[in-house]
Symmetry: C2
Subunit: 256 residues, 2 copies
């Protein structure tokens, strides 16, 4: 059954995250200073950026030496060759590109622009140009954070690591679940019937991505500094399934 | 500023919708019987299906005569030629197809599978095979319903007409805003700065689609019969902009 109601709220007072920080501890602290207590089925949505920062997935572009291939491609699409070097290193393949845009399959299987590399909200350091890479393995991170929070609060929760990405035919970004734990990412409706007993045409709903989209709406992109959102109303479960379930297999793909 | 909190709840007791029904009156009645009173900035998300039904956008496949082109294409992709006839009639162009799948540009500019034609939750009539077409103009419908509700409740609200659609590289459907009124569909972040004063890479967020995704999560697809969701926490505005703002112009499109 889909939820009858859903609430989302920003967890305030998340400090600037630095390499090595314990995100579970930071979130527990911020929840408590917000006056929230964890309940069963709480879902914590975390912006990818702070997971990357905690993992030290930050690169100073001044220290990147682009390959010939990166230099060639960067010239073709009018991008910084050092950034293209990182994009290529982080990816399995280039799906499409044109001046200013490069869409790749990240090594985790997610298809997105720039391999998720971003320079927003990365560093105040004026000595270098820092960018963030995606977390090494967002599903593992989600699982680790889930376990650490659960062990300290004694409740069963879910964790989403979110990113905001563009889409081929629609403008503006929406959220996706880059990683998930304790949530069924894809709701399988096969075998379900409509109100009149007919079999459904839609077979699966991408619930983890829909939750991520809603959470990203609250996170903002600018200087809001609200990278953690509490979601209530969606049922968490014990599952080994994670956001990899949402990747369309290449053989079913009409657009690569 | 993005919202600090957001709540969504299903409006229960929406009756079966029939051609000619007044959706604004139905929603006002259901809100009241749910114990809700309209407040300023309430957003009503309405599943496309009931808008189509109210408009009589229901077709009996037995009454459709497929063209030669529809017969040819239907054979190629293993679909019902009568349904392909409707898909072609509703569309500007075919974007991609393979056995079992046809993705088109609907005449409203939205790119989606089957031109949004669906046989779920359409009719209990065992005499025919009925399918629903998308509403004629979902933005106009959203505006009409908004105005009708506002004139009766005296509050400023927003209206979304939602649909659930698939995506090229990810499995499962998520919601989109097929139509909107009283909501800024696309939040423009250009000129905004991150926490450290750097210009943002992401320039726009598709807020209306994110709201629709969250709402569709509550609507379900099966026999739940919950096609209307109340969203609170997002700021409505007076705007002539509608969900057409979310359509990526063809010249910026890498995938058609």
């Amino acid at each position: 059954m889909p939820p009858a109601s859903l609430s989302l709220s920003v967890i305030r007072d998340i400090p600037l995250v630095r390499t090595g920080d314990d995100l579970a501890a930071i979130i527990l602290q911020a929840m408590s200073s917000c006056g929230h207590e964890f309940e069963n089925n709480d879902i914590i949505a975390i912006a990818q950026k702070i997971v990357s920062k905690a993992q030290g997935r930050i690169v100073n572009l001044a220290e990147v030496t682009p390959s010939k291939e990166a230099v060639r491609l960067a010239r073709e699409i009018n991008k910084d060759p050092r950034q293209i070097e990182l994009v290529l290193t982080e990816s399995k393949s280039v799906i499409a590109c044109k001046p200013g845009v490069i869409i790749v399959e990240h090594h985790t299987g997610v298809i997105l622009a720039n391999a998720g590399i971003d320079h927003s909200n990365v560093s105040a350091d004026s000595e270098g140009e820092y960018v963030s890479l995606l977390p090494e393995d967002s599903n593992r991170s989600a699982g680790d954070i889930k376990q650490a929070i659960e062990s300290r609060c004694g409740k069963k929760i879910g964790v989403l690591i979110t990113d905001s990405i563009g889409r081929p035919w629609r403008l503006g970004t929406t959220g996706i679940a880059l990683g998930s734990a304790g949530i069924l990412p894809l709701r399988d409706l096969r075998g379900n019937r409509d109100m009149f007993g007919h079999e459904l045409m839609v077979s699966e709903t991408a619930d983890a991505d829909s939750l991520a989209s809603a959470a990203c709406l609250l996170m903002g992109e600018a200087d809001n500094a609200t990278p953690v959102v509490l979601i209530r109303g969606f049922e968490c479960i014990d599952t080994q399934l994670d956001s990899r379930q949402l990747l369309r297999p290449e053989k079913e793909d009409l657009f690569r």
